[in-house]
Symmetry: C2
Subunit: 316 residues, 2 copies
Amino acid sequence: MSVPEIEAIRKFVFERILNQDTRTKSVNLFGAIDSQPAIIIAEKTAFPTDSDILESFSKETHLPALSLIEHNDIYHWFLASLESGELPRCANAKLTLIYPATETHVRKYSAQSLRMVTETAAIYKEFVLPYINTKRENGRLNWVYNILEKKKESESIIIEDTDDREGFMLLPDLKWDRKTMNSLYTMALVRRRDVTSIRDLKKKDAPWLRRLQKNILQGLCSKYPDLEEDQIKLYVHYHPSYYHFHIHAVAVSHDGGSGQAAGKALLLQTVISQLESLGGDQEAGLADVDFTFFLGEESELWQNVFSNMKKGGKTA
Amino acid sequence: MSVPEIEAIRKFVFERILNQDTRTKSVNLFGAIDSQPAIIIAEKTAFPTDSDILESFSKETHLPALSLIEHNDIYHWFLASLESGELPRCANAKLTLIYPATETHVRKYSAQSLRMVTETAAIYKEFVLPYINTKRENGRLNWVYNILEKKKESESIIIEDTDDREGFMLLPDLKWDRKTMNSLYTMALVRRRDVTSIRDLKKKDAPWLRRLQKNILQGLCSKYPDLEEDQIKLYVHYHPSYYHFHIHAVAVSHDGGSGQAAGKALLLQTVISQLESLGGDQEAGLADVDFTFFLGEESELWQNVFSNMKKGGKTA
């Protein structure tokens, strides 16, 4: 039984890659069939979630080929193939085994429902600020200060400005291989210790932020001559994962998923623009503005502050 | 040769799925090995881009099993397997063949370099506003007006408010199957025709936007009782794909990729908050603010406006 479409695709002569996405596991190929231009868009399929397949997930019936790449403590990495075949060349999947796993691991790798919340100025002052203060107590930021004081990671510094008031230190993020410019991922830690998040920024800080922006962009481009300033995206998180002001400097082409989504990330330029267009004098600041963002239901902020407010109860 | 890690993972007894992501083709499984808790994180591998594999991409040596699912005009969809096997059960990849392909298809499926640009108030007025006006001329928005006048798609309306000044129409996006709440994707078109983008919003519009927000959220939740208001994310694009003001209303859990990224999407709540905190009287508006966003190098805005400014030349 001959299917003409299958006969056609079998004749595809590859010319070049148009695009590839290692996050979604897809690749777009350009070529020709009988001398006419043709495009193939190939995308790996998602894992089936039928219970019979999942029940035999790591068994030889389902994954005949399995090869250990690396292990470290409770973490084990494998390449796997859905058919018997030579690994790693024919691997269809990467597996990570965490064993024995703790409750923390289970939470970390579980689907989290997200909720949108609006943090008004009043909620910030009454409930969120005290939470942030506990997150800064008892040496929790020592690891940041160790970096700023060059007790740690000083060999990784990409750019440094040692001015106590205006200075910053730019470091590669763990996610970056430090080579591929398309996936550039760095982080600027400011030397000032009085800005815990964007909430502490005031109108008078706008010129400082503009200089910071300029210095990060120019510094990165003089360090990496293949890079141009408009290929770098600068953003901050609200809420951040730690409360010492820092800026993410990332290749615009880097797909950052929810870490770059509206409702979690704010472009540095948007923050500056909002500060500059704010009513009031130079002391007016972002502590008085409403911020809306999403939170995981497992997060402390949701569990201790916003879920209680939703229930109409008292917050912790 | 026995590898203890492989012996261990072979003994994995599946209990439940912790998380799955069909976009990145990964699944997190919880289970036990020798009665101790264990997690397997499985992720499909990206396509190899070695030239010898790409040169034989659709050949039987590389994809022994290939099955046509559907075809429509120049589009053909297949399931494929990297080993001979029974399709679709054992499919490893989905293929789309576009044949014959035009130059437009090639552009659409090619990697686009992105650039960050800052559109100041002066650039907006001199170069961008005339561009937007050409995009509204010659009936280009007729398809929107047809919807608002119920000449088209009226059977799809989810919520409607027919007030000429305050009203809107909420419709499902093509991306949504209209059933799965986790991937809810809808769009509110306002009835007013004088707001082309956020640039036209003024301080005096903030109360209207707040009512719009409330009506969209309440409307969606009364239509879909399983949904709660804080599970819906409202955002607008700047620049939008068409210049009639519209709001995306999407499940917070929906991974929207770059369409939800900072630098493309702005939460409606952030726009309202920025309007409310703006200096000046009720006529002050977002036409006077700097906006920073990313643009594809293939976009008209990049090619006609911003790339010329970068070169220091005159804009078109």
